[in-house]
């Protein structure tokens, strides 16, 4: 489970990565953050940001509003989790 959730849904590139970087500022190494995004560029650019900044890309989970288990959490996009280096 992530320590911090960054809701960047509805924002377009590069804003999801910027929101994530702002949330990560000052947090200790090892902290996990998850950014929620509806922008297809974010699922590519968050791992690239990790590589450029020395963080770890833990994983990416796809959300599908139409999925039967979606329930109240219905939205299309990605939840990308990182661990700060």
């Amino acid at each position: 489970m992530s320590d911090t959730l960054v809701d960047a849904r509805g924002l377009r590139c590069p804003l999801p990565v910027i929101r994530l970087a702002a949330a990560a500022k000052g947090l200790p190494a090892g902290t996990e953050l998850t950014v929620l995004s509806t922008d297809p560029a974010a699922k590519l650019d968050v791992p690239a940001w990790c590589r450029m900044r020395g963080h770890e890309h833990v994983g990416t989970r796809e959300h599908r509003a139409a999925a039967p288990e979606a329930g109240d959490e219905a939205w299309d996009g990605w939840a990308v989790t990182v661990r700060l280096g």
Partner: protein, 383 residues
């Protein structure tokens, strides 16, 4: 003394990939062919025969540069049409061998879409961080049963990386699978390899006109027309003789001093890549050495690609971008995505043979400030 209007910078066009200005000799050739070759080359009268002679001459000149025979060269309506038709008709001719079309992940969208239409979505062969196709995976895929066709570009027009076409062609030959090589970004800029069964080239990229494309098909390679019946299945209704003639003259012209232009532009691109690398938080993408001589691509962290293109345009510089916010689809470039490099804040330049060292230096001087300004607008200081 200069009489340029103060405050109005001269335009510098650095987005020459796939649509470069016409070579001056191509314009002359076009004028000449309008006068002598306006008639339908399929007609039997004197005017028709004169047009047909110009078209034959154009085919011969292009064949000589591509290392093909004249009768192996076809004209099409565009580079996209070339790729669509090449994939569809080469795959159709091998229906009995199989239906799979093996493609690299950073092929032009026209190749990927044509492959999907012909064979369904089979998943392209991945590329590494530099954009080079995984040669072992491609060789294995080409050698698998049920493959109708393989397609690999000579070099990637977005990031410049040269692909291992020789190794893949060898594997394709061993498996008796024809290889389509998209040389649309390289013909006229670097030497063309002879490791192909079908070769696609793009006049609009080498300083010839748009509205005409080139496909060479080795005589031993079978193709099957896929559209409605037409006298010329590669260019239904016939090709424009003036456009084909201008394309051929442009290719001869750029080929005549290609080696010098290659070295000159390679040095300028080196200069750009080095200058860009000094700007904070940037990924300069593509192979640093084994690359096209005139293409440079880079992505800036925390930068909005659309804002940067607009800011550079305001300063008089026209550049391309593969960032999602610059595309109508909102999807970033599939090339950058497949490479796993940063897709936002992307800038792509392709130098024309008319691009000067002074223009490149001015671009390098303006770029850091433009990046800083866009970052400032987004308030990303200290991130």
């Amino acid at each position: 003394m200069s009489h340029a209007t103060p405050g109005v910078p001269e335009r510098v066009y650095l987005d020459n990939g796939g649509r470069a200005p016409w070579h001056p000799l191509a314009r002359q050739a076009f004028e000449q062919a309008l006068a002598d070759g306006w008639a339908d080359p399929r007609r039997l009268h004197a005017e028709g025969r004169r047009a047909a002679r110009l078209l034959d001459g154009a085919r011969e000149a292009i064949a000589a540069v591509l290392g093909a025979r004249s009768q192996e060269v076809r004209f099409t309506p565009s580079h996209t049409a070339t790729l669509h038709a090449a994939v569809a008709s080469a795959a159709a001719a091998r229906r009995r061998a199989g239906s799979a079309v093996v493609v690299g992940a950073v092929e032009r969208a026209a190749v990927l879409h044509a492959a999907t239409l012909a064979a369904g979505d089979t998943g392209p062969v991945p590329v590494d961080r530099l954009g080079r196709v995984d040669v072992d995976a491609m060789v294995a895929a080409v050698g698998a049963p049920g493959v109708a066709l393989a397609a690999l570009q000579h070099a990637n027009g977005e990031v410049g990386t040269v692909q291992p076409v020789e190794a893949v062609h060898e594997a394709a030959r061993a498996a008796a699978v024809p290889l389509l090589v998209d040389a649309g970004a390289s013909v006229g800029h670097v030497a063309v390899p002879d490791a192909w069964d079908l070769l696609a080239a793009d006049p609009a990229d080498w300083g010839g006109p748009a509205g005409v494309g080139v496909l060479a098909v080795r005589q031993r390679v079978r193709t099957a027309p896929v559209g409605p019946e037409d006298e010329d299945p590669w260019a239904p209704g016939g090709v424009s003789v003036p456009l084909a003639f201008a394309a051929a003259v442009a290719l001869q012209a750029v080929e005549s001093d290609r080696v010098a232009q290659e070295a000159r532009r390679r040095a300028l691109v080196e200069r750009v890549r080095a200058a860009v690398a000094r700007i904070p938080d940037v990924e300069v993408v593509g192979d640093p050495d084994d690359r096209l001589p005139h293409v440079a691509t880079f992505s800036f962290l925390y930068v909005d690609g659309e804002a940067l293109v607009t800011e550079l345009d305001r300063h008089g510089f026209a550049v391309g971008s593969g960032s999602a916010c610059t595309a109508s689809t909102l999807e970033p470039s599939h090339v950058l995505a497949a490479m796993g490099v940063l897709t936002h804040g992307n800038v792509r330049i392709a130098l024309d043979r008319s691009t000067t060292a002074d223009e490149v230096d001015r671009f390098c001087a303006v770029l850091p400030g433009a990046v800083a300004k866009v970052r400032e607008m987004l308030g990303v200081g200290g991130l």
